[in-house]
Symmetry: C3
C-alpha cells in the first residue's frame, strides 16, 4: 500500500500541501513514525512530538502551520476522526484469510455461494444457506441451516450464525459472535416468584420453587445492511417473529441483544451492553459501555446513554440519560453532586434540631 500525498489527501478529504508527490507507505503516531509513514498529528499536542519521530509528512488540523514542524508535506483536514476513518481503511492489511473455498471447508450441496466469496478452513456451511458475492468467511465458522447472508460480508474466525437468520449487505462479525441462539424465555406451571415480585413491587413473594418450562425460539433474527457485531457478542432468536437489528447498527464486543428486541437504524452500542427481551429501541440510539436496558420497554430515537447506566423504564426520544436507575443526565449529575454533600447536610440538620428543639439527633 503506497500513496502519494496528493492521492492520500483526495482519499481522506483533506488538502495536500508541500511535496505532494512524496510517497507514503504507512501511518503512525508522530513519535513512532518512520520516514515513509504519514504521522497522525491532528491535535497540537500530537504535533509537538513530530520531531521525536522520522516522519516527513503529517496529517494536521485545518489551520495548522505545518511548515513550522519541519515537514516536507502535509495534509490538512477539518474533521480529523473522519479523515482517520478514510485513512485507516486505505492502510488496513486485513487478516490475511485464505481466499477461495478452502479444501477443508464443508459446504452442504444445497447451499449457494456467490461469486468471489471465500470460505475459510474448517468452516461449515449448512443446507439451504444462501451467501452473496464478495464475502470473506473466515476459518472455523458455522453458518446454519437456511441462513441468508448478503453481499460483501466479512465474517471473522469462529462466528456462529444459527438457522434461518437473514442478514443484509456488508455485514461484519468479529470472532465468537453468536447470532440466532435460543432466547432466554421460561415459564413456570403456576405463578412464579418473579411474577409476584413484579406485581407487588417486591413486598410479597410466596411462590414455591417450580421447574422452568422453555418457551422455544421459532423467530430467528433479521439484520439489515451495514451492521457490525463485536467479538463474542450474542443476538438471540425471537420467539415467534424475528429479533430485528436495523441498517447501520454498530455493536461492540460482549453485548447481548435479547429475543424479540427491535433496534432501529444506526444505533451504536459500546462493549458489554445488554438489551433485554422484547424491548424496542429507535434510530441513532447511542449506548455507552455496560449499559443495561430492561425488557419490554421502548427507547426513542437519538437517545444517548452514558456508560454503566441501567434503563429501567421507557425513555422518550432525544433524551441524554445517566445512572442507575438512569435519569436525565443533568438531573443525575446534580444528584451525584448533592450526595457528596450529604455528610454536611446531616450535620446541618442536626445543628438545626439542636437549635430549634434544644435536642441532638439520638439516631
Amino acid at each position: 500500500m503506497a500513496y502519494t500525498i496528493q492521492a492520500l489527501a483526495e482519499a481522506i478529504g483533506g488538502v495536500a500541501h508541500g511535496s505532494i508527490d512524496l510517497t507514503i507507505t504507512g501511518a503512525a503516531e508522530p513519535a513512532a513514525a518512520r520516514a515513509d509513514d504519514i504521522a497522525l498529528a491532528m491535535r497540537p499536542a500530537f504535533a509537538d512530538t513530530l520531531k521525536t519521530g522520522a516522519a516527513r509528512a503529517a496529517i494536521l488540523w485545518d489551520d495548522a502551520d505545518w511548515q513550522a514542524y519541519g515537514l516536507e508535506a502535509a495534509i490538512l483536514v477539518s474533521r480529523p476522526r473522519l479523515a482517520m476513518a478514510r485513512l485507516t481503511e486505505r492502510f488496513d492489511r486485513g487478516q490475511g484469510y485464505t481466499l477461495g473455498i478452502d479444501r477443508s471447508a464443508m459446504i452442504e450441496s444445497s447451499a449457494t455461494i456467490g461469486s468471489d466469496t471465500s470460505v475459510g478452513p474448517m468452516t461449515y456451511i449448512a443446507a439451504n444457506v444462501q451467501i452473496g458475492d464478495n464475502c470473506l468467511i473466515g476459518p472455523q465458522c458455522y453458518i446454519g441451516d437456511g441462513v441468508v447472508l448478503g453481499d460483501g460480508a466479512v465474517i471473522h474466525a469462529g462466528v456462529r450464525i444459527l438457522a434461518r437468520v437473514r442478514i443484509g449487505a456488508r455485514f461484519r462479525a468479529s470472532p465468537g459472535v453468536v447470532v440466532g441462539a435460543d432466547g432466554h424465555s421460561f415459564v413456570t406451571p403456576e405463578e412464579s416468584a418473579v411474577e409476584q415480585a413484579r406485581a407487588t413491587l417486591g413486598t410479597e413473594v410466596t411462590a414455591k420453587a417450580q421447574s422452568w418450562q422453555r418457551i422455544h425460539s421459532l423467530g430467528s433474527v433479521i439484520i439489515g445492511d451495514d451492521v457490525e457485531l463485536g467479538a463474542n457478542t450474542t443476538v438471540d432468536a425471537g420467539t415467534i417473529r424475528p429479533t430485528e437489528i436495523g441498517d447501520g447498527c454498530k455493536i461492540d464486543n460482549l453485548c447481548q441483544i435479547g429475543h424479540n428486541v427491535r433496534l432501529g437504524h444506526d444505533c451504536l452500542f459500546s462493549a458489554q451492553t445488554g438489551v433485554a427481551g422484547s424491548t424496542v429501541i429507535g434510530n441513532n440510539v447511542i449506548l455507552g459501555g455496560q449499559v443495561g436496558v430492561s425488557d419490554n420497554i421502548t427507547v426513542g430515537d437519538n437517545v444517548v446513554v452514558g456508560g454503566g447506566s441501567k434503563l429501567l423504564s421507557k425513555v422518550p426520544a432525544g433524551r441524554v440519560m445517566l445512572g442507575y436507575p438512569a435519569t436525565k443526565m443533568d438531573q443525575n449529575l446534580e444528584i451525584y453532586r448533592l450526595q457528596r454533600r450529604l455528610p454536611r447536610l446531616f450535620e446541618q440538620v442536626a445543628a438545626l434540631q439542636k437549635a430549634v428543639f434544644k435536642t441532638g439527633d439520638k439516631d
Copy 2:
C-alpha cells in the same frame, strides 16, 4: 409439522372451539399470520390485530369471545405463557444439525457414545468421555478428557466442555459456552493491596506490586439435570471440589459462574449476570440481567434480584432486592424517590439555616 386444532389444544392444555379439525402448520403473530397459521392472540391488544392477518384460528385468553374476531376456530388458554412453552416446543424446527456421527468428527477410541446420539462435523471428543443416549452434539464442539454427559443433551455449535466436567440429563448449551475453564484465583507471595484494602475497608494500602501466583483449578464442574446455559456463558472449575449447578437451572447468555460457586435447583439468571468465586446460592433464585454477586457470600432460597443490582453481602431467603449496593426493593425504591427530591431538601435546609441562624450556607 401439522396439527388439528383439537390435537394442538390437547398438546398445549387449552380448550378447542369451532372447527376443531382445521389443520395448522405454524404459529405467528396475528398481523403476520397466514391462513394455515395459528395466531397468538393471548391478550386483547393482540387480538385486535387479527383482522390484519389471514389466520382462521387463534389462541386467546380463557374467556375470550373468539367468534367476535371472525375466526373459524380457537383455542382458549388460562395461562398464556405456559401454552406458549408447549406450542413453541411443537413447532420448533431446530437447527438441522447433522444426524449420526459425522465423518469429520474426531472421537478418541476410549470415549463411549450412547445410542441415537449424533456428533456434528469437526467436533472433537477426547479420551475417556462418556456421552449418554439421544444426545445432539453440534459441529465444532470440544468435549474434554473424561467428561460425563447425560442422556438427551443438546450441545450447540462451538461449545467447549473441559476435562472431567460431569453433567446430568437433558443439558442444553448454546454456542460458545465454556464449562470447566480455570478459575480466577491468584495469590501474591506477600500480603497484597487487595487484601489490605479488604482488611482496612480501604483506608490504607501500602502493598508493593508483586507477581500473582496461580492457584490451579483441580475441582472441575458438576451440573445437574435439565440445566441450560446461554451463548458464550462461562462456568469455571472449582479449586479442590467441583463448582456445582443444581437441577433445572436456566442461565442466559454471557453469564459468569465463578470457581467453587454452588447453585441450588431451579435458579433463573438473565444475561450478563456474574456470580463470583465460592458464593453459595439457594434454590429458585432469580437474578435479573447484569446482576453481580460478590464472592464468598450466601444468597437464600427464592431470592429475586432486579436487573443491574450488585449483591455485596449475604441475602436472607425470600428477599426481593434491587440496587447497587442491593437493598430490599421497597427500601431501594424509596431511596431513589428521595434522591430525586434532594435538590429541594437542600434548599429547605438552607432556608431553615437562614431563619434559625440568620445566615446562609457558605458551603
Copy 3:
C-alpha cells in the same frame, strides 16, 4: 502424581511433621478426603471436619496442634493461599490435550513452531506465525497471520488470536478468548449526538441520524510475559499503535479490553470487567468483577476498585474506589450509610419547617 509428605512440604514451602514418608496422591477438602489424599485444613473451621473424611495427613496453619486431629502427618504453612498455589500446581492433571502436532491441524508453511510445542486437532495456524518452544496449543484454535507467541504458552480450545498480535512468554488463554479483533471506533460525517452530549453535558442534542464510518484498527495488540486471559475475554486491536497488556496481568472471564488501552504490569481484573478505548491503567491495579472504566482516562498504580464500580474519571495512584460513579471507598460507604437514613432526614426537615415556619412541606 505421588509425593511424600516431606517432598510436598518442600514443594509448597511448609514444614513437615509426623510420618514424613507417607505418600500422598491427591488433595481434597477434609470431609471428602480419601486415605491417600492430603486434606486442606488451613483454617480451624476446616480442620474440625477432618474426622468426617479419611485423610491421614493435612495441611494446617503454622501453629496448629496437628496431632489433636488424629493425623499421622501434617504440613504447617504460614501463608495458606500461597501454599495452595504451589500445591495445586503439583496436582494439576491438565486438560489432556493431544501432544505433538495433530494430523488434523493446519499449519501454513511459512509458520515456525518451536521445539516441544504441541498443536491440537483442527487448529489453524496462519502464514508467518512464530510460536516458541514448549507451547501447548489446544484444539480448534486460530492463530492469525504474523502472530508471534513466546515460549511456554498454554492456549486452550477455541482461542482466536488475530493478525500480528505479539505475545510474550508463558501466556495462558482460556477457551473462547479473542485477541486482536477490530476496535469499536466509528465517526459520523458531521458532529454526532454523542459528541454534542459530551460537549454540553447532556443539555442539548440536535444531531440528526447519520451513518457511522468505521475507523479501522491497524495497530494489533502487544502482550507481555506471564499474562493470563479468561474464557471468552476479548482484547481489541489498537487503531494506529498496539493495545498493550503488561507483564503479569491476570484477566478473568468475559472481560473487555478496548482499543488503544495500555495496562501496566501485574494487574488483576475479575470477571465481566471492561476498560474502554484509549484508557491507560498503571501497575498492580486490581479491578473487581463487573467494573467499568471509561475511555480516555488514566488510572494510577496500585488502585483497587470494588466490584460493580464504574470509574468515570481519572483516578490517582493508590486509591481504593467503590461505586457508580466510583469515589473513594470510605466516602462511598459513608454516602451509602446516609442514603439509608434519608427517610428520617426528610422527616426531620419537615418537622423543623413546621416548627420554624409554622407550616408543613406541601411538596
